[in-house]
């Protein structure tokens, strides 16, 4: 089976990988690059557990082919903390108990980070709609939304 | 004498009675006393039932104490039970 050679960057580091045409970016991240923080919940773009950024845009890694990553800058949950310093969103999720089982958490964090970069001052409704593509079955979203709103205020210096 | 309450599904062993009095110091004693009176009921009680002693539910707990004034109430298992096919 023909494999494609792809050169890209993941969390700021150059990567090269071989992938089949039908492999998704999610398959590549998890199976080829062993970055298993990005989760598969549905493989159809309905749950957001595989949220990553591609050139800064939030996407589902399950809805993009690995070959499409050629030359792109991919951001995953593994790149969110700075060394041993957690991102403010990661810290606030822990502070507010905004996770229970934790399997949706990486996707929520990646998506919430993209939200705050796009819109530093979201309303609760805007945050809820931005995150509507991330399913959580444990929390009822309450503590997640609170953590996002609190972090947004913190990042604005309030 | 402890007061024993049985579910109506076991009344077929007791000739219809669902409230009885039994002298026993623990749950196993209650089951043994009932089996002596109504052959066959012991296995039903041990395998298919949970027990509430004075309102507190016990499962798989043969040696929980029963006081003379206790109410011992058998009820269907809620979880973790065995059931005969």
């Amino acid at each position: 089976m023909a494999k494609y050679h792809v050169t890209a960057s993941v969390n700021g580091e150059p990567v090269e990988f071989l992938c089949a045409a039908e492999q998704t970016l999610l398959d590549v991240l998890r199976d080829e690059l062993e970055l298993t923080g990005t989760k598969e919940g549905c493989a159809t773009g309905d749950c957001g557990a595989c949220s990553v950024t591609v050139d800064g845009t939030l996407v589902c890694a399950c809805l993009m082919l690995g070959t499409e990553a050629e030359g792109r800058e991919i951001g995953t949950i593994e790149g969110m903390a700075d060394g041993d310093t957690l991102h403010p969103l990661q810290r606030q999720f822990l502070e507010d108990a905004a996770l229970q089982c934790g399997v949706c958490t990486p996707g929520f964090l990646v998506a919430a980070k993209a939200l705050l970069e796009e819109n530093p001052e979201p309303t609760e409704t805007e945050a809820r709609y931005w995150l509507a593509g991330n399913l959580c079955r444990c929390t009822g979203y309450d503590k997640i939304i609170r953590a996002v709103m609190t972090t947004a205020a913190e990042l604005r210096g309030e | 004498m402890a007061r024993v309450v049985l579910p109506s599904s076991l009344a077929r062993y007791t000739g219809g009675a669902t409230e009885l009095e039994v002298e026993a110091a623990d749950i196993r004693g209650v089951i043994r006393a009932l089996e002596a009176r109504y052959a066959g009921i012991g296995r039903e009680l041990e395998e298919g039932m949970a027990v509430a002693v004075d309102g507190h539910i016990h499962q798989d707990d043969l040696f929980a104490a029963v006081a003379p004034e206790s109410e011992v109430c058998f009820l269907p298992r809620i979880g973790g039970g065995k059931q005969k096919l």
Binding site: M1, E34, G37, T38, K39, E40, G41, C42, A43, T44, D46, C47, A49, T76, I77, M80, A81, L86, Q90, F93, D96, A97, Q100, C101, G102, V103, T105, P106, R128, Y129, A132, G133, L135, C136, C138, T139, G140, Y141, D142, K143, I144 | P7, S8, S9, D54, G55, H56, I57, H58, D61, C73, L75, P76, I78, G79, G80, K82, Q83, K84, L85
Partner: protein, 767 residues
């Protein structure tokens, strides 16, 4: 919209760590992506397993031809019914429902018949996913398609297609002579029903239905299994009970329990749905045949088609009350879908239906009915949300007819300490009244509503369970401690075990590391379910800590050369118990630990218990909705959920359980359902059309904790995980009725159903 914690006092005011909100011990791993869930585990040389599933709801399997698939390069093993041992009938626990090993074996791999769309008929292990997928295409199954039945009432008809020709209804006399789809009848009664209804001034009778709904955990089932040539087996999987997986694999494959070690991964949600096995025995069998590790991960479609949802139900409820608001009689008829094999949660459904109320005369009959759907698995308070949805609707309607405020009406009849439950025993201290009072006195309950808006209230009950648990505490050389326990942490239980152990030891929680162990590293522990872990395994951890404290006192006594009775343990320090005992500086746990070798060896203790006396849980929810009269859309405007936690060990995670349960219940109420086509195939096996609530569907959910301590737990703990899914469906239905005057009796109350009911003035699932 602040989350309020209402402390009602529990006599444990001295608690130092229990009741605080530290970061959870597994938290950093989970926010960095480091935590390993089921599908994140890999082994060298691992094969990819895939399962072939029946496309038919009901079909006899005439033959399975695997020869072409076996010939495909890269295929290393194939399992069909022929490779799986035939297992005799035996009933065993699975969370709060029971399963039969023979049925489980046939559910894991179909034998004579495929009994539902998605039923496993074969599995392959291959060197790549693509080859495994191609191999499935090459397996030829010859099906004889049979008539099927899915609706529970239809399945009970005498002429319904029969799933099992050897099933004769239990619990009816005389015993039936012809087989049917009704596995058993459950019956409870108390008092004199006729007399009770004769006393009533108002009687309401209604018929309800609910659709099957799925637990909807985000992580699909996943397993890696490895069988060695020496018969030793290793299994890694996402499960609510590693000991259950071990027992099930051993029984289904005829392996000694001691030869199987099961390691639970992090688990991405379960809600009861991961208390049973689907993939594990199959992966293990494939590994035995291939001589290599095998990994199988379900797709989301497989999760919906083949893993346990809960029952759909049909119910008729009749209740009566006097003019002054006293409930005098209640009658329920309930039928639950069990799926393809018997074992619906009909029993708890029957036991819970009127549990929030003190009713002298009552009768409940229930039926466990097999249908051509996946075998149901436990789902959060299994059985209770279905029957209590119906009963709470009738209670609301009675209140309306009597002209009494629905919260007040419930309070007038609320179960309290000493109330005899319909299923037998009298309640100990319970918080039904307290949750109702907190709801009624909330600011939410008094806030005025706008046009097309309505408010509903509903109360719910769940037993909670205890059971077998082990915990080991090892004191480390520097005075930190490790707590080893056997319950997969599904919603923060490591935090609650850590806090209870820390409290009992008297050291800060950050010095106590909790660890969920594999089946070889800790004694038998019943699975994570029944809201039991914080209660039962917490008690085991407290008991183990007590034994450790005893050792610490003994070591201090040795060092000080005084009798052990003269040493007391307080706040993490050994102290002489009084001036007579001697004049010694208090010695910390760390100081004693540092000298452990010299004073008798390592300090460690294990407790193994069968925890009894789990305190029942009550909750009351208040929901405001707005109804779009032109489209039937229901918007949840505001939601308050009150619950008795006994004692909230980590209040944030208690609130989280309450909020999550409420959200799942709202989904069940409004949009979630299994939709089948006329051939019995599931039409919505994905998150697109199985519509679970998304963030923009919900408001903040105010979680209010009340604390009526459970006298059977050292700190007063009650389980909290399940009760919160019980009230929401009725709370939403009652709110819709309040807004529109339409009583919706069929779930889900989706826009097409509600619009049709409004347009028809109450027909089509409305009344």
């Amino acid at each position: 919209m602040a989350t309020a914690t209402k402390e009602t006092g529990n006599g444990n005011g001295a608690l130092k760590y229990v009741g605080t909100r530290p970061w959870r011990p597994d938290g950093v791993d989970k926010v960095t992506g480091r935590a390993k869930f089921g599908a994140d585990i890999s082994l060298p040389g691992m094969l990819v397993g895939r399962v072939l599933r029946s496309p038919h709801a009901h079909a006899r399997i005439r033959s399975i031809d695997t020869s072409a698939a076996r010939a495909l390069p890269g295929v290393k093993a194939i399992v069909t019914r022929d490779e799986m041992p035939e297992v005799p009938s035996q009933w065993v626990p699975a969370g709060e429902v029971q399963v039969n090993y023979r049925d489980m074996s046939q559910n894991v791999m179909a034998r004579e018949k495929a009994l539902y769309d998605g039923h496993a008929v074969a599995a392959v292990a291959a060197t790549s996913a693509a080859i495994a997928r191609q191999a499935l295409d090459l397996i030829e199954v010859d099906y004889e398609v049979l008539p099927h039945v899915i609706d529970v009432r239809e399945a009970m008809q005498a002429d319904a297609p029969l799933l099992h020709d050897d099933m004769f209804t239990q619990g009816v006399e005389p015993a039936p002579e012809t087989p049917s789809n009704v596995f058993k009848k459950v019956y409870f009664s108390t008092g004199d029903l006729e007399k009770g209804f004769a006393e009533a001034d108002v009687i309401v009778e209604r018929t309800f239905t609910t659709k099957p709904v799925h637990q909807g955990y985000i992580e699909p089932h996943a397993v890696v299994a490895s069988a060695g040539e020496d018969g030793q087996c290793e299994v890694w999987c996402c499960t609510q009970g590693q000991f259950t997986v071990r027992a099930y694999c051993a029984n289904l494959l005829g392996i000694d329990i001691g030869k199987i070690n099961v390691t639970p991964s992090e688990i991405g949600g379960g809600f009861g749905g991961k208390t049973v096995v689907y993939l594990e025995p199959v992966a293990l069998r494939l590994s035995q045949l291939a001589g290599r590790p095998v990994k199988i991960v379900m797709s989301r479609e497989e999760v919906f088609r083949a893993s346990g949802p809960t029952s759909g139900g049909a119910m008729t409820i009749k209740m009566g009350a006097t003019r002054d608001g006293r409930m005098t009689a209640a009658k329920a008829w309930l039928a639950y879908q069990a799926g393809a094999f018997p074992g619906s949660p009909i029993q708890p459904g029957c036991m819970c239906v009127f549990a929030p109320y003190d009713i002298e005369n009552a009768e409940v009959e229930g039926y466990d009915v097999v249908v051509n759907r996946p075998k149901v698995a436990a789902y959060r308070a299994p059985g209770a949300p279905i029957s209590e949805f119906a009963a709470e609707g009738v209670v609301d309607e009675l209140a309306k007819k009597l002209g009494i405020d629905p919260a007040a009406f419930r309070l007038m009849n609320a179960a309290k300490e000493g109330t005899r439950a319909l299923y037998g025993p009298k309640f100990g201290p319970v918080g039904c009244v307290e949750t109702l009072e907190a709801a009624r006195s909330s600011e939410h309950y008094r806030t005025p509503l706008g046009p097309n808006q309505g408010r509903g209230i509903a109360t719910g009950f769940w037993f909670n369970i205890g059971g077998e648990s082990c915990a080991t505490i090892n004191v480390n050389e520097d005075g930190t401690a490790t707590v080893i326990e056997g319950n997969p942490d599904i919603g923060g239980s490591r935090a609650s075990i850590q806090l209870q152990a820390a409290e009992a030891l008297g050291i800060p929680p950050e010095r106590v590391r909790p660890l969920v162990a594999d089946t070889s590293s800790i004694g038998y522990t019943f699975l994570t379910g029944g809201s039991r872990v914080t209660f039962a395994t917490g008690m085991a951890a407290i008991e183990a800590a007590g034994k450790v404290v005893q050792q610490l006192r003994e070591r201090a006594a040795k060092i000080w050369d005084i009798p052990v009775d003269a040493v007391e343990w307080e706040d993490g320090y050994a102290r002489p118990s009084g001036s007579n005992a001697g004049d010694f500086e208090p010695m910390s746990l760390a100081e004693i630990a540092a000298q452990a070798g010299k004073t008798g060896g390592p300090i460690a203790a294990t407790a193994s218990i069968n925890a009894q006396g789990a305190g029942p849980g009550f909750g009351t929810h208040v929901c405001d909705v707005e109804v779009d009269r032109e489209t039937g859309r229901v918007t949840i405007l505001r939601y308050t959920a009150v619950q008795d936690a006994g004692k909230a060990v980590h209040p944030s995670y208690v609130e989280g359980q309450i909020q999550g349960g409420a959200a799942q219940g709202i989904g069940w109420a409004l949009n979630e359902e299994y939709i089948y086509d006329e051939d019995g195939r599931l039409e919505n096996p994905g998150f697109l059309d199985y519509r679970m609530p998304v963030a923009s569907d919900l408001p903040m959910i105010d979680a209010v904790i009340v604390e009526v301590p459970n006298p059977n737990h050292p700190y007063g703990v009650r389980g909290v995980g399940e009760t919160p899914i019980v009230p929401p469906m009725a709370a939403v239905a009652n709110a819709i009725e309040n807004a529109t005057g339409i009583r919706m009796t069929d779930l889900p109350m989706s826009p097409p159903r509600l619009l049709a009911a409004m347009d028809n003035g109450g027909a089509n699932g409305g009344a």
